[in-house]
């Protein structure tokens, strides 16, 4: 059974490309265009990893992270931030970081290490 990953980003092109990468890496992918949609998905699905952008409309990555960490259902799910400006992320708690831009190998190293 493939591991599942929820990807969250408001850039549709980037979302498409990262989906191609993760499918190639053997993951089953769920996608959301912002934190709000991701939170709705997390109400019914339990992905093995959450990979989320930081700057998004409606609900940003930090707000999503806070909800996830305070939820019994998903509080232990590994959470990886993707951001081009990681210095702006102010949330506290256990999360991992992928600095945009990144290459395929960097992405796979990160998600594989978090899912193992």
């Amino acid at each position: 059974m493939n591991k599942s990953i929820l990807i969250v980003d408001d850039e549709p092109d980037f979302l498409d490309v990262i989906e191609v990468a993760l499918v190639l890496g053997g993951y089953q992918v769920m996608r959301a265009k912002d934190g709000k949609q991701a939170w709705e998905i997390l109400g019914v699905e339990t992905p093995d990893i959450i990979l989320s952008d930081y700057s998004m409309p409606r609900m940003n990555g930090c707000q999503l992270f806070d909800l996830v960490r305070n939820s019994d259902r998903s509080k232990n799910t590994p959470f990886i931030f993707m951001s081009s400006t990681p210095e702006l992320i102010s949330s506290v708690g256990a999360y991992s970081m992928l600095r945009k831009p990144f290459q395929f190998d960097t992405l796979m190293d990160k998600v594989d290490s978090m899912s193992s």
């Binding site: 092109d13 980037f14 490309v17 191609v20 190639l24 290459q103 190998d105």
Partner: protein, 365 residues
């Protein structure tokens, strides 16, 4: 007080502050500063305190803290440092001129008051400048952070796509999916870099090169719709035009304006709603309206929407998080419109949504 404020009002008209603040706001600020200074003069001051104040070592007082707030406010309002210092210079000159015009003899007590007044003005000015510069630095830091974010996002799509193309397991379908995304991302980066260069050129006082020629505004609009559709393939763009609108325009520049406006409208529209572009004309001018429905633009953001630095200062403070757009496109749209002797305006209200309206004269400027 009223006489000083009336003089001040006359001076303010010479500061080219139109559009930055209303007349009432300018008067309110001057009144606040004067009241704070009057309070400072009425407060007892020892020789030692006076010495420390002259060396800029005085602790904050009412005038100084009022001026601190004033400095930050002026940066928000889009004032230059020169305009900020001109305000204090004019206040000093106005008060002294009016005082001497009353025919007052200069007694030792009056001299002391005048010295106190000048000290208070100097200290208020110094405090204002400190907070003005601090605010300007914060805004510039935010500008750079967002610039990095805006450029790295499409770069992230290109970088990941590039490394994927070298992977052995890539199918033909997956490869075909990457190509248009790489192209769009490169095009977005190119557009951002162009905007940034235009902004830098305008800020450095350079002229925007224009190339006017006989052309058809409906074709310019149509080309902009094609450009925006390529960037936002999921968005439906509706273009309303009845007939060709010939005139003397800079085609490339105006296409840049309309593409920027259409891209913004697509980015900030509500889910699955269309963006509408309407071209109308009379003998004198062409009017282009670009409308979307979605979250409205707050009133305080509308006032400064064509000034990226002011806009950044407002949005960063109000939302306590970084915005994700520099708004350079709107600044450049205004510059290009002005180079055509035209105008650009925005209205955002329920239930119509947000409409940017550009009016361009059809004759050569």
């Amino acid at each position: 007080m009223e006489q000083i404020l009336a003089e001040w009002d006359r001076f303010a008209r010479t500061l080219e502050l139109d559009g930055l603040l209303s007349r009432k706001e300018i008067r309110d600020h001057a009144e606040q500063i004067l009241r704070a200074i009057a309070l400072d003069i009425d407060t007892h001051q020892s020789a030692e305190q006076q010495q420390r104040k002259s060396q800029g070592l005085s602790p904050g007082n009412a005038a100084a803290s009022g001026a601190s707030i004033h400095g930050t406010a002026r940066q928000h309002d889009g004032f230059t440092l020169l305009q900020l210092t001109a305000e204090f210079r004019a206040l000093r000159a106005t008060v002294q001129r009016l005082w001497f015009a009353l025919g007052n003899a200069l007694t030792p007590a009056h001299s002391a008051d005048l010295i106190r007044f000048n000290e208070a003005i100097d200290q208020a000015l110094a405090e204002s400048v400190v907070t003005y510069v601090a605010q300007a630095t914060r805004t510039k830091d935010t500008f750079l952070a967002i610039l990095g974010h805006d450029l790295r996002n499409p770069l992230a799509t290109i970088a990941l796509s590039g490394s994927l193309l070298a992977q052995p397991g890539m199918t033909k379908e997956a490869t075909a999916l990457l190509a248009p995304r790489i192209k769009r991302s490169a095009s977005m980066m190119n557009s951002m870099i162009n905007d940034l260069l235009e902004y830098a050129r305008a800020e450095l006082g350079g002229e925007m090169p224009m190339a006017f020629s006989d052309s058809d505004m409906s074709e310019i609009c149509r080309s902009a719709v094609v450009d925006a559709s390529a960037v936002h393939p999921q968005c439906s763009f509706i273009f309303n035009v009845e007939k060709p609108v010939p005139g003397c325009f800079d085609q490339i520049r105006l296409q840049q304006v309309f593409t920027n406006l259409l891209n913004n409208a697509a980015q900030y529209r509500g889910d699955d709603l269309p963006v509408t572009m309407t071209l109308s004309s009379d003998v004198e001018s062409a009017t282009i309206a670009i409308q979307n429905s979605g979250a409205l633009i707050p009133k305080e953001a509308i006032d400064a929407i064509f000034d990226p630095m002011v806009q950044l200062a407002i949005t960063t403070e109000q939302t306590e998080r970084a915005t994700t757009s520099l708004g350079l496109g709107l600044y450049i749209a205004k510059k290009i419109t002005e180079a055509h002797d035209g105008s650009i305006s925005v209205e955002s209200r329920d239930p119509v949504g947000t409409t940017f309206t550009v009016v361009i004269p059809r004759g050569r400027p």
